[in-house]
Symmetry: D2
């Protein structure tokens, strides 16, 4: 079934192929070929369906926030909510307004402010933060060649003033324990991880699989925990377009400005798309359309 | 199964019985006995499970916004999104701030501003707005004795300055077509509808039942439409606590300041709770706890 | 001296004669001839200097807020500051945002929200509010033909949704004691008063004259009180352009969307200008330029 | 006259001696003796009147913003307003909200964001920024022993996360040209300058003296320029309490969290007060009361 559907989706994308624009917020990312397009879907039975550029690596960027949160969750569990909320923000991902009004507690872990707090937590709990986090991701993906793209990380550092503003504002409210520079450094590396659609889909499949990795059956989070994080992706995974994605696609997911999107159908499948052109809210145009078509064509959503 | 679970839930509520406070925002509603508590769950197979005060009518208040939206949807369909958004607001239900910043387009139809726009749409499409809307609700509930509580409607009118401010602000932006006074009058009546937990659960069951009413199998909305409205309830149904409800309960739903909550497990059941004491966000304390327990104990959520 | 200067000013206006646009916020006001231009300056010695259309009446609109405040001040004195502040708002004159954040206490009496509170105070203290207020203004101007323009008042009522929103929001916070409709009605009448530049300059001359009217030497407010209200005009008289006016003109003053501006040089003179084309902040383009030239050419400002 | 008045003021302060609290925002400043109190007034004729601790140096902090602006003004003149506004902010001095909404253009040069832009301008125009700026201040005060307090500067650096957030946010909008770290370093040094009340009053006396220094008659700014900066101090010199100061004191001025305030009566005098206890808006309690008494007792204000 999925083979056919992915094929149809790919064909339906033609009219929208030039909509949106590659993000220019990070110089190194602006160099990506805007015509790239790939989808990979893996079922909880472990069957793989890929199409297009689904085996080419790209910068996962904000999608990494879910992996970082999952990793932090294994250390501090529900205590994390003392430092970051679970509510949609209703504001752009990098806004400082709400953070100031709400005295330094970010609305959720998927806006930048929240992700910086999560990064701070990881720094406090990991011996070799970058290496340990990378190992965590490699375990999820069952693939040892996944890596940071140092060029992208450094490129982001040269323009990351908005994130530096957020980190300093958090620090001024006492919601960053480590050095601001260290937190930003870790955060930029975390975002620079490169994966293929297939690797992404496999990495996130534990969210569809009651907390267990697909290939090794390793319990990453409890069944109850993945339900909660799925719910969080549903309400907060797409910046100020979370409602739109939820309304049209009806699945929990997370996007990144590298053009990637991951979505999860609990107990059924995990799917990752990649198409670098973004709409004005910072989400992949073709990715969102593809996933809307996917749930329409399969007739399956969580609702 | 559900009989036992509802029983256990009821027993688990004792420690929280005095948490929160009855809403004092509408004089007439402040008179409610705060100790009331009822749950009714109806499966898509039509099996009923009730406990406590589940057959006593109460003011459904904002829960009516979902019914009004559904009714408006039958007239204007997706065009409704030209006048109101689908994004969570991140602000209290009656805030004017966002409405001013966003030039009169309410974030979603479940905050007051959005519900006033929906009321305006119904006024433009119904011959006898109050009667016709009541008929719609009676059809959903399959019950002809459901009615407005005029005393509550008038009571709200005497204190409804915040809603009058919202309606006038909407009108100043051209997003109300009818007379402001008429829109407010209809809105206050709509909110004053009284139903039991059982009637509420039955009325909302078409959201769990692919758009069809339970008893008469009448198609109210298409399967695709109910999916979308379920998704909307998931992200926007609980004011600025939508994330919290989604995180803890994992089901789409809608609350009202009368103390009611409705939640939907698509293809499985619809459940309504009533307990008048509200937390500071305006949602029923026992209602939220009950539903969290329900999804924990059944092990079933949409995620 | 002033004769020559006013003449030069009038001649310097030519290049800017078509800048800005007549306000279209009130239908009746949109009909004004945009080319009107007048200045009248009266010294505290009672010497008059007029030029252009300075003897033609126009709608004083928000300039009336200073007169209303002065009148209210004679009843409640400094107690007024329990209900309205003395700080510049930094927001457009009709914004609801700040009012909501600051729980119904308007920043100052010259934004609309503040003026509505002042109107409410007058309603509570005057037997025949409209008549009594008009008498107060006539006394200040020493002219019995000054009157409301009922057509303008009614015209504003038909479009005054934003003000209705403000009044209702104030009422929801308990900062309006009278009926919202009555407050709005009085406010629209107050704003509809028509005066010539000469009448305006004379009416406001007590602010330059230690609190005494020019012609009858009647003490309206104490010397200390007029100093304070002058200070308030300095910081808050020009909506979110108060700083600009203060920076360029260096005198306390107040503008109205009818195109009028009054400015005061304490102990020296009072000047009123009229030119209906407004800049985007709602202040008269030629009025602001004229007054900037006036203080430049006379070499006199309060600083 | 002034001798007697200053004496009376000092005596009137007793009941308020313990009101407010020393700022704890900079560790080194929190060590100040809270009972310090001094006033120095110098007339444009060069006659000095001092009382209390008026010859003891203290940290001038934000008062330095006026001196930095004056210095920058000598280089770029009115062009400065392309990068910073002249409007009161209506927000706390260190707020990021408005800066984000208004896309990186600070409301005025006296809130921290604006002062950071001014610091950036000075960095771009001075060969030895710290030394050159210090020389400028020494010239104004006609005193060569005035200096930075490096301990205070470094102390502020250890806690200056909010300012770092502002500087990074400005940089993200392209409104900082130099390195963020350099701008912050210069800014912290600038704020750490220590002066006595007498030195402060003398330094600022050119604002009362048509732009010329008192002792050397050196033209720092033109007469027109000092009028404009006086007007700016009037509307923006006291954070979100500018209206209050203007209303009660009626003079342009500037405060600092070290407890100092400078006020100017154009063509008459310049006065500086020092009393470390601050009200909740960050302005010296006794300083504000003293200056209110001063204008009341002298019967002289600009209005």
């Amino acid at each position: 079934m999925y083979t056919q559907i992915l094929h149809e989706i790919q064909q339906s994308m033609a009219p929208f192929a030039n909509d949106g624009a590659v993000s220019n917020s990070i110089p190194e990312l602006a160099l990506i070929d805007p015509s790239k397009f790939g989808i990979h879907l893996v079922t909880t039975q472990g069957i793989d369906y890929g199409i297009g550029d689904s085996n080419e690596r790209f910068s996962i960027q904000s999608i990494s926030k879910v992996l970082a949160l999952s990793h932090a969750f294994t250390f501090v569990g529900e205590n994390i909510w003392n430092r970051v909320g679970v509510e949609p923000s209703g504001n752009p991902f990098n806004s400082l307004v709400q953070l100031e009004y709400e005295k330094g507690k970010p609305r959720n872990p998927f806006i930048n402010a929240g992700a910086l707090v999560v990064a701070d937590i990881l720094l406090s709990h990991l011996n070799n933060p970058k290496k340990d986090f990378l190992d965590f991701v490699r375990t999820l993906a069952h693939c040892n060649t996944i890596n940071f793209n140092e060029k992208v990380a450094l490129s982001e550092k040269t323009v990351g003033y908005r994130n530096a503003a957020l980190a300093n504002l958090l620090k001024s409210f006492g919601n960053i324990n480590n050095d601001v520079t260290d937190v930003l450094d870790f955060y930029f590396y975390q975002c620079s991880i490169e994966m293929t659609c297939k690797e992404l889909a496999h990495s996130f499949c534990f969210f569809a699989n009651k907390g267990k990795t697909l290939t090794q059956n390793k319990q990453i989070l409890t069944e109850s925990q993945v339900k909660r994080l799925n719910a969080l992706m549903q309400t907060c995974g797409f910046y100020d377009e979370a409602g739109e994605f939820s309304y049209k696609v009806g699945l929990p997911g997370k996007s990144g400005i590298g053009g990637g999107i991951v979505a999860i159908h609990p107990q059924k499948y995990c799917v990752a798309t990649w198409a670098p052109r973004l709409n004005e809210k910072g989400n992949s145009v073709l990715g969102m359309k593809s996933l809307e078509l996917l749930t329409t064509k399969t007739g399956m959503s969580i609702f």
